[in-house]
Symmetry: C2
Subunit: 600 residues, 2 copies
């Protein structure tokens, strides 16, 4: 057995059934092993960047994790933006890069250590990838392959998950090995301090009991830790408002009677009123990022006691103004496990508060009646409301970045077993489309809905060929607002509407999407006004094939609401009349005189 064959066997054991790849000189021997193994396949993509994003998404939906295999040099550096997605969103992925033969490495001779390159396409990918991987390693000899694979796999999943990278010189890829003689990796099991955790749980329960306006935040950690079931048991104990972060958006069904909405810079007014007026916050699996807290973290839930469960001790110990009183540096699995055990009969009812929260939700919906009545162009908020109606019970929606991501997360309703996600932390243009492919492949060519922008889709447009070649029923929905909408809004707020480099007036142009879809043999539709939405969605969302749906949005369409720079989270723009605003505020620390305007 050679080393390449061993790697495939290892991946199969770890339930990786498909690898994303472009072959090349330095990965040839590894790819050759597929010819002798029928239990694992590969998908050849058109750009390695897409391979890394497909792996990221495959890992989110697969039974374990995901892998790419690429050649040295540009093959490896092309992965980096995709690797960064997994790094910031805590997704376990394994990237195997081919490398030049060991004797061709510049590190091989003392005299060549400072040379830019010795072997053809030699690149020090390990050093380059280090800042955005949990573990990056160049294999030194064939006998450490088992140890390194096991270690890499362990690290990628342990604690806060993330990507790992192994760089394998060509000469090692074809070395013969004896699997029985290989050293294994012994993983240390970190024991939970149950006593400490119990104490913290009782503290939390006591705060819940004595608080008047408690709230629970659900973050991306729920899905990452696969604890949606445990969460349901947990949430039954509480009749209080529940809110989500962006990456937590699909951790709860949106028709849950206690669910208020998303909090944050692009949150709903209702959810932000809830969080800002609360007196006790339990955050579950959220890093409480600035997109959630607003630019001035000390203003976040500023009269509340905050408790947070976060697997990453660096996140929970951030000291940027937001004070976390109860820090639980533990996995949600262990937290729910112990909490649910310790509180079998617990019932926290704050019905008046819940009622008030639900009233806010009713009073300040994201989708307002005038959006539905819009005559020219499609209103993106109304579009999302309608799209929700056409989704099947387990449909997966992946949104890209910028304005269309914001519209989707603000207004799409997640029901039943539906999923809604993006590469939230890295937020590159171009993630959603390859991510849709990765999810579809992970789930046996399942339908996936990709919500994209006219600028963003171009970044990975080459993967239309991968879509077609693999016959995947992916629905590409373009919210087409002629350029980069979120930047346009920024320029209007802070740069007196000087629209440099954002739209077709300044050189940012779109291809003719109808012709492009056609060129790849993908069926194409257009939605030009609100009244066309249903007709087209009815026909396309349930079809069994790929669809390209070009939705025309007003070029100056805004994200509403949105936090203006420097304002506290409760005071979203456009600002409410002060009187109405003040009526909604229960806490005492409010700047009553601040008269916010759009330009603040």
């Amino acid at each position: 057995m050679n080393l390449s064959e061993y790697i495939l066997d290892f991946l199969i054991k770890k339930k990786v059934h498909n690898v994303f790849t472009i072959t090349g000189g330095a990965i040839c021997f590894l790819m050759d092993a597929f010819s002798r193994n029928k239990k694992i396949k590969y998908t050849s993509v058109a750009h390695e960047q897409a391979a890394a994003m497909m792996a990221d998404s495959y890992s989110r939906f697969g039974p374990n994790f995901a892998a790419t295999m690429v050649t040295s040099g540009p093959g490896a550096t092309n992965l980096l933006t995709g690797i960064a997605c997994s790094w910031f969103d805590s997704i376990p992925t394994l990237h195997i890069c081919g490398q030049v033969n060991r004797y061709e490495l510049s590190s091989f001779h003392k005299s060549t250590k400072k040379v830019r390159q010795v072997g053809f396409q030699e690149t020090d990918i390990v050093s380059i990838a280090k800042p955005i991987t949990k573990f990056a390693y160049q294999l030194k000899n064939e006998n450490e392959i088992r140890y390194i694979l096991e270690k890499a796999h362990h690290i990628s999943q342990e604690g806060r998950p993330g990507p790992v990278l192994i760089d394998i010189p060509m000469d090692l890829q074809r070395k013969l090995i004896n699997p029985n003689k290989l050293r294994s990796f012994k993983q240390k099991t970190i024991k939970t301090n149950n006593k400490k955790l119990s104490k913290q749980i009782f503290k939390i329960i006591s705060f819940f009991k004595k608080s008047k306006r408690p709230v629970i935040i659900l973050g991306g950690g729920i899905r990452l830790s696969k604890t949606t079931k445990e969460l349901q048991i947990f949430l039954k104990k509480f009749n209080i408002p529940i809110v989500t972060t962006w990456s937590g958006v699909d951790s709860i069904k949106h028709d849950n009677k206690k669910y208020i909405g998303n909090i944050g810079v692009y949150g709903s007014r209702a959810a932000n009123f809830v969080i800002q007026n609360s007196d006790f916050v339990l955050s579950l699996g959220s890093r409480l990022d600035t997109r959630i807290t607003g630019g001035v973290p000390k203003n976040f839930a500023r009269e509340a006691v905050i408790a947070s469960v976060d697997i990453d001790k660096n996140e929970i110990n951030k000291d940027r103004g937001l004070i976390i009183k109860i820090k639980i540096n533990e996995s949600l699995n262990k937290f729910f496990d112990l909490f649910n055990k310790k509180s079998e009969k617990l019932q926290i009812n704050k019905l008046d508060w819940l009622q008030k929260s639900l009233l806010w939700k009713k009073k300040y919906p994201i989708v307002v009646p005038e959006y539905r009545k819009q005559k020219k162009y499609v209103n993106p908020y109304f579009f999302m409301e309608r799209l929700s109606k056409y989704l099947a019970k387990d449909d997966i929606v992946v949104a890209d970045d910028g304005a269309h991501l914001t519209w989707a997360i603000q207004s799409l309703k997640v029901l039943k077993q539906q999923r809604l996600f993006s590469a939230f932390g890295n937020s590159p243009m171009g993630y959603a489309f390859p991510a849709a492919i990765g999810a579809s492949i992970a789930l046996n060519k399942k339908k996936v809905i990709c919500i994209d922008g006219d600028g963003s889709i171009q970044i990975n447009i080459q993967e239309l060929q991968t879509l077609v070649s693999n016959k995947l029923p992916i629905k590409i929905i373009i919210l087409n607002n002629d350029g980069y909408g979120i930047i346009k809004q920024f320029q209007e707020l802070y740069l007196q509407e000087r629209h440099e480099a954002v739209d077709s007036k300044k050189g940012v142009t779109n291809p003719n999407f109808s012709k492009v879809a056609n060129a790849y043999g993908i069926s194409y539709s257009e939605i030009k006004k609100n009244s066309d939405i249903d007709k087209t969605l009815k026909k396309t969302i349930k079809s069994k094939k790929a669809e390209f749906i070009n939705v025309f949005i007003k070029p100056e369409q805004k994200i509403i609401p949105k936090l203006a720079f420097g304002s506290p989270l409760e005071d979203l723009s456009p600002p409410l009349p002060r009187k109405e605003f003040l009526k909604n505020m229960i806490i005492k620390s409010i700047d009553k005189n601040k008269n916010l305007t759009e330009s603040n």
Copy 2:
């Protein structure tokens, strides 16, 4: 004046007239400065990777260097493959990345130093880019902007050139500055040791005089140092064979009566016989890479004394088997300057040896008669021969990577002021097309010919929109051999023809290029056999618009000749009959019994 405005003024002073960009949240303030400056423009591209490659090419053809401007996070990481092109090929480029506000940097607070991300889309691009840049720096305050820009520019051009990167937090981009009060960068001028150089030059002259079979190698350094004129004066002193490396391929006109061809793994038999039989080698601006020396450097020109002029002391001091006796660590400008002064009447004539070399050239052409007679498919060697006929006197040709690069470099004839290049060291799929755009923009929308592969073009296919949007007369020639030709040949040689992940039988498919070109409104032609070549080239190469030319090559088309692994450079595959081979060898150290076969 704000810091962003200062940056534009600096770039204008350095003769950068066009910047390649995609805007984004963290670069908005810098891009805004373009609205107040009419002396510099930007080109909005569809993927930052292409921006970096365009800048690389713009720098090769522009009067000084080139710049990109991109947003933080994915904007910055998307540049990396393009930056690597500039790094390995010694091209000075400046990459300006926007970054989150300083107070949002994870490095800002002690408590957040180990957090993956604080500001939205914060990424430590400086650490990531460090291994492939000469200088990568995050701006600390507004007052160091002049110093850092001047330093970065100096470093990018000094010694062996290369890319530099400056990361600029958003809050600094809009800081007001007083240009008169900024600290400047004082560059140290390194004085040449003229005495030492003179001595070395006399040594070289003496070796030339006493040698019987001397040869001059021209490397990429000729073009990089812009010494083609000085080279011409220099070469007039010699009647001896001249050969080129790949990156030196366009440093001499191919109809020069002393020019034999390219040396190396994919060199011509003639040029390799010359180098291997030589007794004195003067290498000018070549790092004598393994693609030039063959996999076993000690076999290269093994009975010759080698002298090398290389600006990079690390390259010239490599100790991997190849012994350089006279090491001149100096710029070619200074070398030619002094050499031409010290040897006004020098004339080195080795006419018998030159004659023999020219006979080899005649006897072993790359393009053989049977190629011209090929009935099915287009023969790529014959195609290049014909393409040469249609090139104007100053046409620029950029080739991508893999098999089609090899065919182009082996057989395209560079005449008059023509240029032929690629990203030789990094050799990513997808370089040629954006590089063609960069060159065209550098030269005021000049015609550029891009030679690409069916696999490679897909990597940056999104830039068809940039091409169309900017109305550039670029000729995209696809040598279409259904997949990755160079890997197929590798698999035939070393993997018993197991063709994993290389062609349409194994999931590597092409879009319908005719429809794709059509979708972008680019005129499309096909060449399916040798006899169609002239008709189509006549029509397309001289047209004033963009053209997409799909040339169908036999899927199993080989690169001929090519060095088999482990063989010395003189013994290219397919091997010559031993008798004929031995007749060509003048040196003594030949393995007479080795009977090479394809599988060696």
